[in-house]
Amino acid sequence: MNYFGLAPLARHLQTTRRSFLIGATAIGSSLVVGFSAEADVAPAAAKPVANPFVGYVQIAPDDTVTIFSSQMDMGQGIYHGIATLVQEELDADWVKVSVIGGFGNTALYGNVPFGGKIQMTGGSSGTASSWERYRRAGATARAMLIAAAAERWNVPIGEIKAQNGTVSHASGKSTTYGALAASAASGPVPADVVLKEPSEWKYIGNEALPRYDSAPKSSGRQQYTIDLREPDMLTAVMIHPPLFGATLKSFDASKARAMKGIVDVVSTPRGVAVVGTGMWEVMQAREAVTVEWEDDKAEKRSSREIAAEYRAAADKGGEAVAANVGDVDAAFAKAAKVIEASYEFPYLAHAPLEPINAAVRMNADGTLEVWGGHQMPDAYQAVAAKVAGIAPDKVILRVMKTGGGFGRRASVDSDIIVEAVATAKAMGWTAPVKVQWTREDDMRAGRYRPAFAHKMKAALDDSGNLVALRDTLVGQSIAKDSFMEKSLVKNGVDVLSVEGMANQPYAIPNLRVDLTTTTSPVSVLWWRSVGSTHTAYALETFIDEIAYAVGKDPVEFRLAMLKDKPRHAAVLRLAAGKAGWSTPTPAGRFRGVAVAESFHSYVAQVAEISVDGSGRPKVHRVVCAVDCGVAVNPDQVRAQMEGGIGFGLGAILKSQITLDKGRIVEGNFDGYDVLRIDEMPSVEVHIVKTSAPPTGVGEPGVPPIGPAVANAMFKATGRRIRILPFANSENS
């Protein structure tokens, strides 16, 4: 399946080389290199854009190298990845390299796998999008530095070396990149540059390259949006509607206004903002505001009712068809054996450890600065401009590193941006304002992984072959009613609802996947690995169930149906082999396996568990095999697999957001339980060596862990867990 249904990656990687145009410019005495992604767009330097001084790479006279990233870093390490790509070709002094977020120029920063039309971090596409672009940026800058040195020293280009931030010639002449930056910037831009061959790589694939931001992040020095302390900046907390779909009728803030440290209480399109000098002050004052809400159209159901409705809808069959291969009805009519299973998945909160926030300041020159985890800069710039009533090119985005994200900071309605800009505007732009959600706000303000139901059915022939598979899915659409609808919803099917199932990998002659899209004011969003959070669980536990039903080994059963899927098969074999799948498990331990492709990366995992006296699993060890194309930073690939496994494991074991007459029950980490260190298994990651173009790793570690553990649970207890999380009371 394509990234979000947009242009296929492979085609892009073939054409990007030809269609890149190069631009370079001098800013002061710095060299700035940028490209435009489309051949019909003028080079960045020549085009008047919101931020003409933003390119890809800037080399300053003091030898510092600043890379402008098209991707935001929420911890997945893409800044490090992009720095590695630039460094591979530029060969600067690594300790002088830093990365900041670029914005305001879709031609420069458009996400390549998304067709270059939107700047967005998502779909685990950051490395794929950057692979050509940032290596070429580094190579172009280096070529221009060498050309400048050749001219200055009057020696042939071919005799000049440039490495580790220094340009040198055999005659003994030597100078730094920074010293050449100004003259390089005024020289001609090479029409094309030759990138290094893989055999020449020093940084790509280098295990020893230290992540450039580990030290500040180990000493409390990394700055996040919550840490902003601009002069006179005020802090605000929101009062959101208590029910989804409720709207503000009126509020009385007279008591709150009189409290110490409170500056103002204002209404915004998304609720009431309590503004003051500090977080403690505004949190207390918030309790003193009384609000009346209009809740006629609000969601008032409870989770149990919603689940019952989903079950009934699943029994009826889906309203829209996502996949239809062969003749499923005929195959079921002839089946020797039919197996059925229904699954229920709860809403899930992303709960990044830094709760959602943004800060704004209207400057004297009419520009509006907006700080935050800008995962969709184009959209946020446009929305900020609209709410402020100014032109988009007056909005300066300050892209902050964030304390996690997991999808939450790419909000299709720009929720926190609207709140921050509207609050500052309602105060007449009298002060810079930071809107900071509390943990409770974060848990209860929506944008959840949608709840889903699956009803699966398999037809087997006499010899135990899987001849037909049906799945009916029921759940809310993420893309519907958003600006993404046109590209993501096809024939009534949101590709994000069915990804991982409609394109399931097994050779099954008859397949039908259909979908009923439900609606609710409860807002939903992509949550690390999106549709595959539930489709991989349903598919991979069901396939396992069928394997046991026909008396086949779960690995062999899968491999027999993966003959045309060499990358799935290879990671499955690798994980099984490294986990000792065919050897006996230690006493009291049980193994389960799962494999899934998501975002063009292939991951298989074998989980080894034991079960305690009260029937709860303990996951001891996970062996993970991943094929993500070229591993730009192998250690970061490993880190993302480890993190994805923990993230997915916590969710399937313990996490759920539930509604009680429309109200969200869970408010903090007591109700919304997440994985903790004592529950983290030891993880072994094996990376497939390949020359395939790089794909993502931020999300693909998540999908297989749930079904791998559930399959091990079956081995241990004979029970199939079909209502998630495992801790759901209906399982006990």
Binding site: S218, R229, M279, P355, T402, G403, N668
Partner: protein, 151 residues
């Protein structure tokens, strides 16, 4: 009200009920100590009070008058150095947001116990949530730091 903060006598004229977390962050500008839950459920705000790990979000300033508070900005000494070096060497952080709390809690653990077992680590750190789930590396880094301190 006076406390010793990172070695310096510090006088505070604030609401006695105000949590240490917001005094550090909003009044004193020491933003290395993080807010994650406000309810002593996540450990992001862990600081040392007289050497013991404490959740600053649930510590009213009135309750620690006269005591010595050390935040991530003020940790020092051999154990702190080794822990931070190990964290960097193993590239533990992902987003990094929980790591002030993890590092401070680990320093407290290793100050008290130079050879922590798996269970000791679980006991000391299970109150510190990492939503990026860097737990695997945190565990490895604690063991590595303990090994280096022994040498």
């Amino acid at each position: 009200m006076r406390i010793t903060l990172n070695g310096q006598a510090t006088d505070l004229d604030v609401d006695p009920a105000k949590p240490l977390l917001w005094i550090l962050r909003d009044d004193l500008g020491l933003v290395g100590t993080k807010y994650g839950c406000g309810q002593a459920l996540c450990g992001a705000c862990t600081v040392l009070v007289d050497g013991q790990p404490v959740r600053a979000c649930q510590t009213a300033i009135a309750d620690i008058v006269g005591r010595s508070v050390v935040t991530i900005e003020g940790v020092s000494g051999k154990v702190a150095e080794v822990v931070q070096m190990t964290w960097t060497k193993l590239d533990v952080p992902q987003c990094g947001y929980c790591q002030s709390g993890q590092v401070v809690a680990t320093i407290a653990l290793l100050n008290a116990n130079r050879k922590p077992t798996e269970n000791d680590i679980n006991d000391a750190l299970s109150g510190n949530i990492c939503r990026c789930n860097t737990y695997h590396r945190i565990r490895a880094a604690v063991h590595e730091a303990a090994k280096l301190l022994e040498a």
